[in-house]
């Protein structure tokens, strides 16, 4: 395939993915908006004033970045895991496998689709947040880069989940039992400085903590974690998961006998 043909193939996968999640927008775009509005209403408006300030900011303002990033994480992951598993389940993954599309383009196409949904949901949740909080951006470059890198990282995670999944249950196990607990314990609702030292150290083993803190820095200019450490970790994870995804795809794991 020429470079132009490769671009067309990549573009096709991305368009197909975006068409898929926008076609079922009531399942993909609407729920995160409603769920986050409830979080803002309950934790921000109702309980928030009783909590007072967190790291010098209103509690509502403090939780906004974490809630946005939580939506980005869960949606980019869910998009790729469910989409790729559906392609396996309904066997239309074969449409790409019989064609001369290189495996890395299949992977990039799915990841771009997942990142597109993650970023779109992130924008929607930010718009919802504006009704409850005076959203300010301290460093737009950090906000943009973290949301992009995080959505790419969790799209890759979703892809690997989709490769290994044998049933729709397998697609929901990781988000329910791994992703959600890590996200909730990743400092969305609190600063880890509030925790005893032991639990602070335990929290530092949670990779999502690094992403949420870097993202919060982008909005508020505060972070429990050094930015460089956060970027290094995220980019490192992306490199590892990309290599693993491509290896599995080249081996045909779960898709070729």
């Amino acid at each position: 395939m020429t470079l132009a043909e490769r671009y067309v193939a990549f573009e096709t996968i991305v368009i197909k993915e975006i068409t898929r999640f926008t076609r079922i927008w009531t399942q993909t775009l609407l729920p995160p908006g409603i769920t986050t509005a409830l979080y803002f209403l309950i934790f921000g408006n109702l309980i928030g004033p009783r909590i007072g300030e967190m790291d010098g900011f209103l509690y509502m303002d403090f939780i906004v970045p974490g809630l946005i990033l939580m939506a980005v994480i869960t949606n980019s992951y869910a998009n790729v895991s469910s989409s790729f598993f559906s392609a396996k389940f309904q066997r239309f993954v074969e449409e790409m496998m019989v064609a001369p599309v290189p495996n890395y383009l299949i992977l990039l196409g799915y990841v771009a689709g997942g990142a597109a949904r993650g970023i779109l949901v992130g924008i929607l949740v930010t718009v919802v947040a504006m009704f409850f909080s005076d959203v300010r951006v301290h460093d737009p470059l950090v906000v943009g880069s973290i949301v992009l890198l995080t959505s790419v990282l969790f799209s890759l995670g979703g892809f690997i989940n989709g490769i290994f999944a044998h049933s729709f249950d397998d697609v929901s196990i990781v988000p329910t039992f791994v992703l959600t607990p890590l996200t909730y314990l990743g400092g969305i609702f609190y600063s880890i400085k509030l925790l005893p030292e032991f639990w602070q150290n335990v929290s530092l083993t949670n990779p999502i903590l690094y992403m949420i803190n870097a993202f919060r820095y982008g909005f508020l200019g505060i972070s429990d974690i050094d930015l460089l450490v956060s970027y290094t970790l995220i980019i490192g994870f992306i490199a590892v998961l990309f290599a693993l995804s491509l290896y599995l795809l080249n081996r045909g794991y779960g898709i070729r006998s």
Binding site: A4, T12, E95, M97, A99, P100, R256, S257
Partner: protein
Amino acid sequence: MSHALSIQQLTKTYANGLRALKGISLNVSEGDFFALLGPNGAGKSTVIGIICSLINKTAGRVAIFGHDIDSDFGRAKACLGVVPQEFNFSMFETPLQIVVNQAGYYGIDRRRAHERAEKYLSQLHLWEKRDVSSRMLSGGMKRRLMIARALVHEPRLLILDEPTAGVDIEIRHSMWRFLREINARGTTIILTTHYLEEAEHLCRHIGIIDHGQLIEDTSIKELLKRLNTETFILDLERPVDTLPDSLDRDIRLIDPTTIEVDVSRDQPINHVFADLSSHDIRIVSMRNKSNRLEQLFMRLVGNGEGEARSPS
């Protein structure tokens, strides 16, 4: 003549130890209409799966128009179109989306992809259904959609795995016409089918796989020559209750106005008519029994105990 498909010593052993292919070698000439037959579990789907890169081979070499599927997979795949046995498209997409996206996977830009989609969906009488969710299509329409999708990049080799399974006779005949047309325009076609009559009508060459080995690779004409007898169905002018005992022939009464007669190839059929006339049995029409290939198939893949598995 160059080979559209060249398979050399192809073997496949699955993870569970099953040896599905035991060293198959096969060449299909450019422009041919080739039938690949075999009983259930013989290895046909494994061969097709390997050609299409859906199954990893254990050993051997496969080349499509001279392009090795391992070392030159891009060119090899560009020459190949596949219509699988099972529906393998998204049930939530429309036929237009499915065909346009498939073109995109071959690097065909969206403007040209739309033109090609219109061409092939129209030829397969699906253009009016282009914006309907594909799950709403009938079984025959879904099969035609997969043919349109397989043709959108205009492959030189088209492989169809039981394309007419489960479709009614009218659609089957219209699909046969269409396949003959594209074959006449130069596309090499390899077909697996459950209907041996279909292979006999459409194909010029035939390969039979059994127990992972190619047991026959010849032209249909050559294969049919091996039949020593031919069966004819004769319609009678007047009904008969039984056939006269003095009729010294292999004749069977199917119903009061139909008989079936086996005629040796070295014997003129006039003798049959003469015999029947002498017993005051008059014939108003006759036709070949169309399962000549079926007889041969059963003979070739039978297990030696007079029992044969069904072809698929």
